[in-house]
């Protein structure tokens, strides 16, 4: 299991590549969503097909999957620092294509804003980011609704996993939400005012039935040249609901900007 030390943490990563010795290919880094998500949602959907044309690097963000779960440090900026530390460790100094799902999308956007020289393009699925009123929205039980972790969603999820009486993921998620600063850190995120400063090519996909359509429209309106695709009959779980379509779009995107 590749556990790598970066930014003072032990982070779980996976690297997929079919490159021949010495072959230079586009570098793709995929960032997942919050709490019950981890790098496996990329691993089983589009990582392998994309690895046929690019070097793919998957990261379990801090607190997620098999990465270390520190007590504090869950702001978007902390996550950006982790990913940059990993890029440094891997010796990747040239621009990479950042793929972000949900919360991974805001980490990708923030990285592209803070380190524009390190990002070649953004491929965003259901990207989530702070807007006006975010703090209040993140309060109380609503805190989790923003990421599809509201009571209904969690109940749905538990119903599917009900026989997992000792579910390790459920226990880990509970620890994450109750014993770390995650919720406080997310609540403290300020609305993003710098979307017009994003300088790289950006492609965004959202499900037509998503609960964050406002984010989709804001990205299209504010990120220069942002291409937006709304997928009919899909929810926030676009990546798993329409893995085949996302795969097609990802390969076409790399063909154009890679």
């Amino acid at each position: 299991m590749p556990i790598e030390q970066a930014n003072g943490l032990a982070l779980h990563t996976q690297h997929l590549s079919t490159a021949a010795e010495g072959e230079r290919r586009p570098q793709v880094v995929m960032l997942h969503g919050l709490v019950i998500d981890n790098l496996s949602s990329w691993y089983y959907t589009i990582a392998n097909p994309v690895a046929q044309v690019a070097d793919v690097h998957l990261v379990d963000l801090r607190g997620h999957g098999r990465s270390e779960m520190p007590a504090t440090g869950y702001t978007v900026e902390d996550n950006v620092d982790d990913v940059v530390a990993l890029l440094d460790r891997w010796g990747i100094t040239g621009p990479v294509h950042l793929f972000g799902n949900s919360f991974g999308g805001v980490v990708a956007l923030a990285l592209a804003h803070r380190h524009p020289e390190r990002v070649a393009s953004l491929f965003l699925i259901e990207a989530h980011f702070a807007v006006e009123g975010w703090g209040e929205h993140m309060a109380g039980s609503l805190a989790l609704a923003a990421f599809g972790l509201d009571e209904d969603s969690v109940q749905d999820w538990l119903a599917v996993n009900a026989d997992r009486k000792l579910s390790r993921l459920a226990k880990r998620s509970e620890r994450f939400l109750t014993e770390t600063s995650l919720i406080d850190d997310l609540q403290a995120e300020a609305p993003i005012g710098w979307l017009p400063e994003i300088a790289c090519p950006t492609f965004a996909m959202y499900g037509a039935d998503t609960d964050i359509m406002d984010r989709a429209l804001e990205l299209e309106a504010k990120v220069p040249g942002c291409e937006l695709e709304i997928v009919p009959d899909c929810s926030h779980s676009l990546l798993t609901e329409q893995g085949g379509l996302v795969r097609e779009r990802a390969l076409a995107w790399l063909d154009r900007v890679g």
């Binding site: 496996s40 089983y44 392998n48 097909p49 026989d163 997992r164 579910s167 390790r168 993921l169």
Partner: protein, 99 residues
């Protein structure tokens, strides 16, 4: 690598790998069989599946392209996957490559 990769050998190796991934809890409900399902019986988390595929790669090499095999499946098929299906896949591919 043994010269002949029989399903029985793969099953035994797979059990060792799963114990390494999940821990001894794996064997609480009895030994691994061809009918054991990864989701219902083993309650394997998706991230643990990633760890398992890494161990398969270490053990059998790239000719047993587990990730590529999974990439061709629908999510429902992956969830319903049994130990026997995986053993069959490994044995067929390891044997085909002469491993």
């Amino acid at each position: 690598m043994p010269e002949t990769v029989t399903p029985e050998i793969v099953l035994a190796q797979l059990e060792e790998m799963l114990v390494e991934v999940i821990g001894d809890d794996l064997l609480l409900d009895g030994p691994l069989t061809m009918e054991t399902s990864f989701d219902q019986d083993l309650q394997l988390e998706s991230i643990e599946f990633v760890a398992l595929s890494e161990k398969l790669l270490e053990t059998y090499g790239e000719q047993v392209d587990f990730v590529g095999w999974l990439a061709e499946m629908q999510l429902d098929d992956i969830i319903a996957l049994t130990v026997g299906q995986l053993v069959g896949f490994v044995a067929a591919n390891a044997a085909a490559s002469g491993a």
